[in-house]
Each structure stands twice: as structure tokens, then as C-alpha cells.
């Protein structure tokens, strides 16, 4: 019995985000994508940490666990290893995932446990009322950094690629169609899927992504990655990314037709690049120097942790079909007292 409409995935819980929060749009997109996956809703699990974003599971009429700060990927690992048949989704924030939870995140990615991690990146701590996060831009003035933050932020996708994530993607709260495409791709991927979703916190970090989400200019500031296609952008797809040369891995933003540049010079994207160098290069692009790349950066196949664990158990069980406590206790050296 597969649930078929968005409504089936809504709960009766009053949604407790600030009016105008980007989380609403993401929720709507997720609720729209779920019915298209062909998975009965009782087989879908949402697990979150702590943060505004982490309230998400309450609003999904699936199984949900609102756990503790930063630990959702680890809890999800236990869930998935124990229940390989479930579709397990982790909802987390930039603080939850990359600050307190950074270690669990990279280990989940390394192990390639078949869970989907959606990280809502608002570049701020929302729930604790506005401290800077590991993705806040340097110099950010917040309650805890009145003279501006001095940390260099993480690029979340670079971190994920450094941990050898098998699926890495990025989208934006406001771009429902794009986001839903990315979510579907994540669902289809076998292995850990890491999806960064830029999310506007209109209370503590309003407009953080306006420079590339504004209607009029976004064609020039967004680069939509498509597998097998050249990395072109701009309203009329006249601009693109090419390599600096055979000895330089520095990318250049070029315009077709200028300085003899033709489409043949433009990097053709390959999301299956095994070394991960291509997505890594792309993860470093950002405005104002380059457009912000959105879409699926990487999607490769490698063995999943949950399969591995379960295969070993199955294997061992096949080899010892007659395992019993009796045999266990009486195995090895024993003696009789009479």
C-alpha cells in the first residue's frame, strides 16, 4: 500500500518554524517527492539531530526520531544496519552536521551506509538564536562574535568529498523543481547521499543566498551541473568553465566566442569520476568569482556498509545453520563432575 499524495505525508502537528523560514519550502518539496518514490510510508524513516531544521520529522507522517545534537547519522547507522529494507533519511543543520556532528557525518560517508543526509545550510545556528556556524562567512558578526568571526568556514561539499562520499549534491530551498530532482536522485542512489540545501533563515541570517537566488540574476550566478553535458551557464548558456590547462587544475570562467573559446573547450561533466577530483574542483567554485554550482556533483557506486554487515551475517549463518546456545556453551573444553 503505497501512499500516493503529498497529503499522506503531512502530520497534524502544528509546524513550529518562524513564518517565512526556508524550512517550509523544503518540507513541501520533500512531501511532494516522497509519494513518487514507490516506498510505503511506513518503510520511511526520518531521523534528525537538534536545531530548527531537526524539527522536520514531526511534520512527516512517517516514522521519525528527533534525537540529540549531532548524532543523527550515527543513530541512522544503527537503524539501517538493523533494517536494510527501510529507507532512512537524516535531517540536519549546518551546526548539527558540521559542528558537533562532523565526525559522525564523515564516518557515515566513508562507510557508505545507505542513508540519505539532507543538510539544511542556513549558515547560522537558528535554534539557539543566532550564533555563527562552521559555514558562516568569515567576519560574520553574531551574538557570539561581536567583532566578527575569524574562522574560515567549511565548504560542506568539499568535506564530504574529502571523506569519499559516493553521492554529493546541492540545491536551494527556493528552487523547488531543482530540489525535487536532487532529492529523487538521492533516493535512487545506493549508498550515503549527502545533499546540501541552502536554506534561508529569515530571522538570523536573512538573505544569505540572495546573491545567487535573485530572480533577475540567478541565471548568471547559478551553474546547473548535468552529467555528460558541458558546464555552461548564463541566460543564453554563453558562459562556461574550462580547465586552466594541462598543467593547471585551476578552473577558469570563460565566455563562448570570446578569445576563441568554443563549446569544445568547456569541461564536460562526469558525475561518476572515480577519483573525486572533478567534483572537488567544482565544490570550490562560488560567487563572486564563479557561479554557484548546483545539482549532482558525484554519484558513484561502491559497496555499502549495511550490505556488508548483513552479507557477513548471512554468510556466517549459512555456514553454521545449526547454531544453538547448547552448542555454544558445550563447545571447547568441558568436563563432567559426577
Amino acid at each position: 500500500m503505497v501512499a500516493v499524495t503529498k497529503k499522506d505525508f503531512q502530520t497534524d502537528q502544528e509546524v513550529r518554524w518562524c513564518p517565512g523560514c526556508g524550512d517550509y519550502a523544503i518540507l513541501a518539496s520533500v512531501q511532494r517527492v516522497m509519494p513518487t518514490l514507490g516506498i510505503p510510508k511506513e518503510k520511511i524513516i526520518f531521523i534528525s539531530g537538534i536545531g530548527c531544521s531537526s524539527r522536520f520529522p514531526y511534520y512527516m507522517n512517517t516514522y521519525g526520531f528527533h534525537t540529540i545534537h549531532g548524532r543523527a547519522p550515527a543513530i541512522a547507522t544503527g537503524v539501517k544496519v538493523s533494517n536494510p529494507e527501510l529507507s532512512v533519511w537524516v535531517i540536519t543543520g549546518d551546526g548539527d552536521a558540521l559542528s558537533i556532528g562532523g565526525n559522525h557525518l564523515i564516518h557515515a560517508l566513508r562507510r557508505n551506509i545507505n542513508i540519505k543526509i539532507l543538510m539544511f545550510n542556513n549558515r547560522i545556528y537558528g535554534l539557539t538564536k543566532g550564533q555563527y556556524s562552521p559555514t558562516s562567512e568569515p567576519g560574520k558578526k553574531t551574538k557570539s562574535t561581536p567583532m566578527g568571526s575569524i574562522d574560515q568556514p567549511f565548504t560542506p561539499l568539499s568535506v564530504a568529498l574529502g571523506a569519499n562520499a559516493s553521492f554529493v549534491a546541492r540545491s536551494v530551498d527556493r528552487e523547488a523543481k531543482h530540489l525535487e530532482m536532487v532529492l529523487k536522485r538521492a533516493a535512487e542512489h545506493k549508498g550515503t547521499a549527502f545533499v546540501e540545501i541552502f536554506q534561508n533563515c529569515n530571522v538570523f541570517n536573512d538573505g544569505a543566498f540572495l546573491h545567487f537566488t535573485t530572480k533577475g540574476t540567478k541565471a548568471d550566478t547559478q551553474l546547473h551541473i548535468q552529467h555528460g553535458k558541458p558546464l555552461l551557464f548564463g541566460a543564453d548558456k554563453q558562459r562556461g568553465i574550462r580547465l586552466g590547462g594541462l598543467h593547471s587544475l585551476t578552473p577558469e570562467v570563460v565566455t563562448l566566442g570570446e578569445n576563441g573559446v568554443t563549446e569544445r573547450d568547456i569541461l564536460v561533466y562526469d558525475e561518476t569520476d572515480t577519483s573525486g577530483t572533478l567534483p572537488f574542483l567544482l565544490s570550490k567554485l562560488e560567487p563572486p568569482v564563479a557561479p554557484i554550482p548546483l545539482g549532482v556533483f558525484r554519484a558513484i557506486e561502491r559497496p555499502t556498509y549495511d550490505e556488508g554487515v548483513n552479507a557477513q551475517v548471512a554468510d556466517a549463518q549459512n555456514k553454521s545453520p545449526d547454531a544453538s546456545i547448547e552448542k555454544l556453551l558445550k563447545g571447547g573444553d568441558t568436563w563432567v563432575v559426577s
Binding site: I50, Y63, F65, G78
Partner: protein, 631 residues
């Protein structure tokens, strides 16, 4: 005098009639590289097969392989074996084997006056003596006069025995421990068969080494016979153990097996999330070898991930267990609180070691009881049980799961390094009679379903099987409404839920056995009350004390939260209550607070178990070197 093995199938029995003894305590000691743990466990198993009762106490250094000859590289294995019931590895060895000066230095003070001291004199070189801090050679001064010294050129003897095997110098050196074992087999009139079988299996693919070890073992035995150095040899008859099939088992092994058995009893797959740490790692190792029981082990990135993954498993209906030692348990505190709030069945194993902080990782202690009780934020009650001997770990693990599943709460199991590595003969239980462990899942929707619905009797919340259609629900660490299961900040509800969480634990007392008294059941002068691995020393001291005419009794708590229901009444039957603990008075604090009785502490924090004599002298009212604070 090397002899071919075929020649030697039948070895001579010791000459003359061996002296009959009730029990004996042997300590093997040497460098980490000397193989003393192996020697000890070979002697143990041989004694076990002969039907002796026995208790062992391995004591290894913190270093993996400390540089040869150093004091901190000394490894020891003590073994008490007897023709009667015994409970401890023995206060003081009757026989000390010291393979080098460092081993002598570290262990000599424990040897009984007049005890047998077997020394590998080849190792008493100036360099080694120096490393061990001797200023003169004890074999040459008078410092060992109080003992029956047997300084033997064990190295040379082994070399001679193995001269024709073609083994390298290093390999020959490694066989010394088998030579020594052979000598002790002679001294205690033991058959070599068990060890010969062991050698055969262990060195299956290395026949020359197997042959060398066999030769060494036999040569050591024959040396005893031929050299006639021992004026007497000893015999220790089999003990009057309850009839049945027996095996030898260590605490960590029993712990792992108990968890496997609980899984089988409950019909649930066992999930073990852990991160390696001394002295708990062996539980992970053991469980990972039993995948054929459906056991899943996850070696997580840290202790927090380990407990978190286990919580995920618990939520979805597995038999869920995490384990560590004290420092790791400290890290798990916040997550255990989540399991309390979300009311999940979770077993948390703490194989305690000496603290605080990194402390002395290879040494034992029982100083994490109050951490188990209170080591989380908020009012966060959990159940606590503690096995009292290596084999008891098996039963208490099953109990832990029974309580966790029956009441939907975390249960902490407090083992310790002494239980974990120590061993004892264990009468293999009747599998059919093992206690039931019952998981009650909800799998079908009901009209009024919510995830915090409760059993009226136990107050356990329902355990909806994740994946069942119609039971979709959301839980978490925020306070919940008793009525609806939704998040609630209502003041009265918080009060009520706090009480419910406490009552679940208290209610367990109805299902746990009353505490039994060994000794004067009707009450008397002194009650020794303990928990955990102090059992053996306390029981033995009580036996001896009673034989000496003292009115002393012993009771041992295997359930620490909640306490057995009869505890209060029982305590009041005795004039004095003495509480021996390897901490500064943790159970003591709980008892005094709860029952307002002037219980007295007998406390020792030395990283090693109580001696029987220490407890005896407390019973006799002697002033102890350390008396516990009330807390």
C-alpha cells in the same frame, strides 16, 4: 638428554606419595614476552579438567610489549585451584615462578613465607638485575632466605632439550614457558595431555615449533623427576562440585555469551555497538565471532556513535547493547539520557577499570556505580545490575535484557577488569531452563495508538515495530505528554513523567529475587554487604570468620537499582553492616541515604581485588589502612 616424543608417551608419575593438599596458589610471572598468560591458562585448564575448583587472576602490563626486563613489563597470572569450593585467586601464592629479576622484584612481597620460589637463574644477568633495580643479585645475597628457593637454569635446560630440533635461538627461547609448565605439572602431579593437545592444534601448520614446545614441556616434567630437587610433590583432589557438565569461562566471554543467549531467548537479533577499550574490547571480539547467531557488531568511530547506533537499533526492535569501560561510559552519558527520555530498551555494559580519567587501564576498580546512577543530566533513572563472578556475567546479561525489554528502559551492567579477565569453572546451565526474555511488539494499529501508551502494570511504554503500517510516529528527547505522546512543556505533565520514569525502575523490584543471606539468616552481629567482583573474597572471609566462631554473614547485591525489596528489612536484622568496596564508598552512600543506617565502609582503591585477609581483619575489628568516607 633430549628424548624423542614417541619414547615419552608415558611419563613417570612423581616419586613417593604426593602430599595431599586442599588447595594451592601458583603465580606465574615474567616478562610480557615470556608467555606467562599462556602458561597460566594451560595450568588452569588442566586443573579444571581434573575437577578442581579454581579461580584465576591474570594481571598484565599496560604496555603492549614493554622493553624486556623492565618492571613495568612484568606480566603475571595467579591461579588458585582446590579440592573444595574456593572463591578467590588466593591472597598469597604458595608458589611463585619468576622468569626474570623484574618479575621477582614485583612479586616477591606477595609470596608466602616458606613458599616455593622457582627462578629462571639464566635471566639474572647484571643488565637485567640493574633494570629491575637490584643493587645486588638476590640469588647470591641472603634476601631470599625466607623462601624455598629453586634457582634453575631454565633457559639452558630448554636449549639442551631442543638442541636437535633445528629451531632458531629465538624460537628456543620462546619455549621456556612450556619447560616451566612441565616442571609445575610434575610438582602438582598433573597429566600433560591437555597441553600436548593444545600444542598440536595451536601449531598445526608449524610442526617444528610444535615439536619444540612438546619437547620443552616434557623436558621440564622430566627435570622434576630426574633432578629430584623437590622433596615432596603435591596432589589436589577434585572438588565436590555440583554434578554436571563444566567448562572454564572468563567474565568477558560469559558476558558475550549471555547477550547471545538473551537474543536467542527473545528471538531477536543482537546488535552490539562498541568502540575498543581496555578491558571491554574482548566482548566486542567475542561477539564479532558469533555472526551465525545473527549478531551484528559495529565498531563505531567513537563511544558516542556506538551508543547512538545502538539506540537506533533499539528503536527499531533489535536486542540492543553497547559496551565500554568508564571513560567511554562517561562519553555515552548524554545519549543514555536520550534512551531514558525516549524509553528505549538498551543494555549498557561497563567493564570498570581504575580511574579517574585514563587512570590505570589494566587495573580493576568498582568506582563507576555512582556514574551509572547519576552520570547524566536531569532526573534520568536507569536500572543497574552487577555480576558477582566471571560465570555470573552470563546470567546477569540475560537479566539485564529481561529488564530492559520488560520495562523499556536502559539497564547498565557493571562488570570490572577482575571479572572480565578472571575465570572460574562454570556448570553449564540447562538451556531449556534459561529465563525467558520477552519482547512485546505492537505491530498493528489501534484507534488510540500513541508511542507513549503504557502497560498498566509495568508502566513500560509500547514498542511499536518500526516498519509496521499504521504505527508511524515521532519520538525524541523532548518531554512528552503522558496522555498524547506529543511534545509537552506542561508543568504537571513533567512532574508526572518524571515520576513515571522513576516508578518503572522501582517497579522492577517486584520481579527480582529477594536478597539471600549466607550465614545467620535471622540476623546477627555483622553483615558483610557487597556487590560485584568482591563476592569471592567476601564469601571466603565469611566462611573463615564463621569457622573462627564469629557471627558474620554475607549478602551480595546483584541488583543495584532497584534494590531487592527485602533489603531494608534484612539490613535491620544486623547489629553492624560493613560494606567492602573497591571505591571510596559508593554503595555505602546509597545505603546510608536510603535506609539511614550507620553502615560502615571498608574501602580499597589499589587497582586490585580485596584479599580475604583484609576482609577478615575488618570483621575482627582491626583498624583498616583505609576506611571509606560515607561518600
Amino acid at each position: 638428554m633430549t628424548a624423542s616424543p614417541t619414547q615419552m608417551v608415558n611419563l613417570p608419575r612423581p616419586k613417593g606419595r604426593p602430599v595431599d593438599l586442599e588447595s594451592a596458589v601458583i603465580r606465574f610471572s615474567g616478562d610480557s614476552g615470556d608467555g606467562m598468560q599462556l602458561t597460566g591458562s594451560q595450568f588452569t585448564n588442566t586443573a579444571a579438567l581434573a575437577g578442581n575448583d579454581l579461580v584465576t587472576f591474570p594481571d598484565f602490563p599496560a604496555e603492549i610489549r614493554a622493553p624486556a626486563g623492565t618492571l613495568f613489563g612484568v606480566s603475571g597470572f595467579q591461579l588458585n585451584f582446590a579440592a573444595k569450593s574456593i572463591y578467590t585467586p588466593g591472597d598469597a601464592p604458595d608458589v611463585l615462578v619468576a622468569m626474570n629479576p623484574a618479575a621477582l622484584k614485583v612479586n616477591l612481597s606477595d609470596l608466602k613465607t616458606g613458599g616455593i620460589l622457582i627462578i629462571n637463574q639464566d635471566a639474572f644477568t647484571p643488565a637485567n638485575l640493574d633494570k629491575a633495580g637490584f643493587t645486588s643479585n638476590p640469588l647470591e645475597d641472603d634476601s631470599l632466605n625466607a623462601y624455598r628457593l629453586f634457582a634453575i637454569d631454565i633457559g639452558t635446560q630448554t636449549e639442551r632439550a631442543l638442541a636437535e630440533t633445528g629451531l632458531s635461538f629465538k624460537e628456543v627461547g620462546r619455549a621456556k614457558n612450556f619447560w616451566t609448565l612441565g616442571l609445575l605439572y610434575y610438582l602438582y602431579d598433573r597429566p600433560l595431555e591437555y597441553t600436548l593437545r593444545f600444542i598440536e592444534q595451536k601449531f598445526k601448520s608449524k610442526e617444528t615449533i610444535a615439536e619444540g614446545n612438546r619437547l620443552a614441556l616434557k623436558a621440564g616434567y622430566l627435570y622434576g623427576d630426574v633432578s629430584e630437587i623437590f622433596q615432596e610433590t603435591y596432589e589436589i583432589n577434585s572438588a565436590q562440585l555440583e554434578p554436571g557438565l563444566y567448562r572454564n569461562i572468563t567474565g568477558n566471554q560469559a558476558t558475550a555469551w549471555g547477550a547471545i543467549a538473551a537474543g536467542q531467548q527473545a528471538g531477536l537479533p543482537l546488535f552490539y555497538g562498541s568502540y575498543p577499550i581496555t578491558p571491554a574490547s574482548d566482548v566486542l571480539h567475542e561477539l564479532s565471532r558469533h555472526k551465525h547467531f545473527g549478531v551484528k557488531t559495529v565498531q563505531a568511530e567513537d563511544e558516542i556513535a556506538a551508543v547512538a547506533a545502538t539506540i537506533g537499533a533499539a528503536w527499531t526492535g533489535q536486542l540492543a547493547m553497547t559496551g565500554s569501560s568508564g571513560p567511554g561510559i562517561a562519553l555515552k552519558g548524554e545519549a543514555i539520557g536520550l534512551a531514558v527520555a525516549a524509553e528505549l530498551p538498551l543494555v549498557v555494559l561497563n567493564v570498570q577499570r581504575a580511574g579517574p580519567s585514563t587512570g590505570m587501564p589494566t587495573k580493576t576498580e568498582q568506582a563507576d556505580l555512582l556514574q551509572a546512577m547519576f552520570g547524566r543530566n536531569g532526573e534520568s533513572p536507569v536500572a543497574i545490575v552487577a555480576p558477582q563472578s566471571p560465570a555470573d556475567c552470563f546470567e546477569m546479561m540475560i537479566e539485564a535484557f529481561r529488564l530492559a525489554l520488560g520495562y523499556m528502559v536502559p539497564v547498565i551492567v557493571l562488570s570490572d577488569g577482575y571479572l572480565a579477565n578472571g575465570s572460574e569453572p562454570w556448570k553449564i546451565p540447562d538451556v531449556a531452563a534459561l529465563p525467558k526474555v520477552k519482547a512485546t511488539f505492537q505491530t498493528t494499529p489501534s484507534d488510540d495508538f500513541h508511542p507513549f501508551q503504557r502497560d498498566e502494570d509495568t508502566l513500560a511504554r509500547v514498542w511499536p515495530k518500526i516498519g509496521s503500517p499504521g504505527l508511524e510516529h515521532r519520538i525524541g528527547g523532548l518531554e512528552r505528554s503522558y496522555e498524547t505522546g506529543h511534545i509537552s512543556y506542561d508543568p504537571d505533565n513533567h512532574q508526572r513523567m518524571t515520576e513515571v520514569r522513576a516508578k518503572k525502575i522501582e517497579g522492577m523490584a517486584r520481579t527480582i529475587p529477594d536478597l539471600k543471606v549466607y550465614g545467620s539468616e535471622q540476623g546477627g552481629d555483622i553483615l558483610l554487604l557487597g556487590w560485584g567482583s568482591t563476592f569471592g573474597a567476601m564469601r571466603q572471609a565469611t566462611q573463615i570468620g564463621r569457622e573462627q566462631g564469629l557471627d558474620v554473614s554475607h549478602a551480595h547485591l546483584r541488583y543495584l537499582n532497584p534494590f531487592p525489596r527485602n533489603l531494608s528489612e534484612l539490613l535491620h536484622r544486623f547489629k553492624r553492616v560493613i560494606v567492602p568496596e573497591m571505591n571510596t564508598g559508593q554503595l555505602l552512600m546509597l545505603l546510608r541515604s536510603r535506609y539511614l543506617i550507620p553502615a560502615e565502609g571498608l574501602n580499597k582503591i589499589e587497582g586490585k581485588p580485596f584479599r580475604v585477609s583484609e576482609i577478615l581483619s575488618a570483621i575482627h575489628g582491626e583498624k583498616n589502612k583505609s576506611r571509606g568516607q560515607p561518600w
